[in-house]
């Protein structure tokens, strides 16, 4: 019994450590703030831990985890919890970067994108992040968001359209990003 529990915990630990970097990045795009992102991923994995025996035996545990995280993100919005997505003077989102034209341009892009994302409604933001950062298909994104494929299409299209409309982002968006 104890051995089984140990094995279960070890399996969970391995899974958690392996997924932490990727999910933290996704959470960062959703929340726009380091601590909020860490908190979101931590909350997600607490729930995953509770249901670990089920998750581990699932066909695709990552699908489950993504769904939990999107739900947790949506819940925070419903509860009107504070989010820090928009770059603010007391919450520097863009880390200090070495000098250099490209790097500065990159930092500008980051700040502009995060600010633009912050102005999207949560569902549009989720659709854009899942489709174009997580690289999920529309069906997979729909599963993660708990909505129809049509809703994902609509939210992603609206989100992209709004991002394109923002001055400063339109050029990089339509040109496929800056050259790095």
């Amino acid at each position: 019994m104890g051995g089984r529990k140990q094995a279960r915990d070890a399996q969970f630990q391995s899974f958690f450590i392996g997924r932490w970097p990727r999910l933290l990045r996704t959470a960062f795009l959703l929340t726009g703030e380091q601590h909020a992102a860490e908190d979101l991923v931590q909350t997600t994995f607490e729930q995953v831990y509770v249901a670990w025996s089920r998750v581990a035996s699932a066909d695709d545990p990552d699908t489950y985890v993504r769904r939990v995280m999107i739900n947790a993100h949506a819940r925070r919005h419903r509860r009107r919890l504070k989010e820090f997505l928009a770059p603010r003077s007391d919450s520097p989102l863009v880390p200090e970067l070495p000098d250099g034209g490209d790097r500065i341009a990159q930092a500008d892009d980051r700040g502009a994108l995060l600010k633009a994302l912050s102005q999207l409604p949560p569902r549009q933001r989720e659709a854009v992040v899942l489709r174009y950062w997580e690289d999920l298909s529309e069906g997979q994104a729909a599963e993660a968001m708990g909505c129809s494929v049509g809703a994902v299409k609509s939210n992603a299209a609206k989100g992209i359209a709004k991002l394109r409309a923002l001055p400063g982002l339109a050029e990089t968006v339509t040109q496929g990003g800056r050259t790095r």
Partner: protein, 295 residues
């Protein structure tokens, strides 16, 4: 990104837009600092949640009484589990995913009026393409003999699988066998991979022998009512209350040695389902009133 993915973006503008966004998102995501994964904190939080859940779980049971048809529920409660380990890296075959042969778990047995009865939970893995879906449908027809019973009990026309709805969905059937007659009393479809279970318990009732016995006549029950329930897997005890106010407690056997009478109702896990199940026969002349998770 695959060409297929590109075409299903459904965007009104050019493909460069998503591509550009993808690059910008990747760049922005790089800005986050990846520290050490807080494993201990997560485990502590998880344990707190587990304790809290056990303490306060309450059930709003949904009762569907005297059903004569398959109860089709588009569910999102169950996880599809066929992998032994999340660390597995090679893709699993359709056979390993139980696409053509369901995982079957007996969740209740008994004997009534000289006939043995049995309830099983069959979980079919999600087909991933049309070929798998077609083959699964054929396998279901073979396994359950009569397609109408499986897909839409009471229907005379078997419902051909709608590919858009069939692919990517696992299917769960609760099968009631009385003597040599079997039928499906519950059908659910749920997305491959499943989603969190978490407190959406349901109770189903059906006459044991005659589908219409409980719904016709002068109100006198001529049949025994069978209650099939599914609850959160963390539930340890469920109380079923009958129409006269009496109750039956159903417990989970944490240390089942196999010596227990298999006819004793108990909470059991079913392979491929993320919920726990129980089956209990209503006392003679009584019907199900409510279900509540006690702990």
């Amino acid at each position: 990104m695959s060409p297929e993915r590109e075409t299903d973006h459904g965007m009104a503008h050019d493909d460069a837009v998503p591509q550009g966004i993808a690059l910008l998102l990747a760049d922005a995501a790089d800005a986050v600092e990846i520290g050490t994964a807080p494993y201990q904190a997560v485990v502590r939080g998880g344990r707190r949640r587990k304790t809290r859940r056990w303490a306060v779980t309450a059930v709003a049971a949904v009762v569907i009484a005297g059903s004569t048809g398959t109860l089709a529920l588009s569910g999102v409660m169950d996880g599809d589990g066929d992998r032994g380990s999340s660390a597995a890296t090679r893709p699993y075959t359709a056979e390993e995913r139980h696409v053509y042969k369901p995982r079957k778990t007996t969740v209740g047995t008994g004997r009534e009026q000289g006939k043995d009865w049995k309830v099983t939970v069959d979980v079919w893995g999600a087909p991933r393409n049309e070929a798998e879906a077609d083959r699964q449908y054929a396998a279901m027809k073979r396994t359950y003999k009569v397609a109408e019973v499986v897909l839409n009990r009471g229907s005379t026309v078997p419902a051909a699988p709608d590919q858009s709805d069939w692919i990517g969905k696992s299917r769960l059937y609760v099968r009631l066998t009385v003597g040599d007659q079997a039928s499906s009393v519950v059908e659910e479809a749920f997305a491959e991979g499943g989603v969190p279970s978490g407190g959406d318990p349901k109770t189903y009732t059906t006459p044991l022998f005659d589908p219409i016995a409980l719904t016709t006549g002068s109100g006198k029950l001529s049949d025994r009512q069978l209650v099939v329930g599914k609850v959160d897997p963390t539930a340890q005890q469920v109380r079923v209350t009958w129409s006269d106010g009496t109750t039956t407690e159903i417990n989970r056997d944490e240390h089942d040695t196999g010596d227990q009478d298999p006819r004793t109702p108990r909470l059991l896990d079913a392979e491929g389902s993320s919920m726990s199940w129980f089956v209990v026969l209503a006392p003679k002349g009584l019907s199900h009133d409510s279900t509540k998770v006690m702990k």
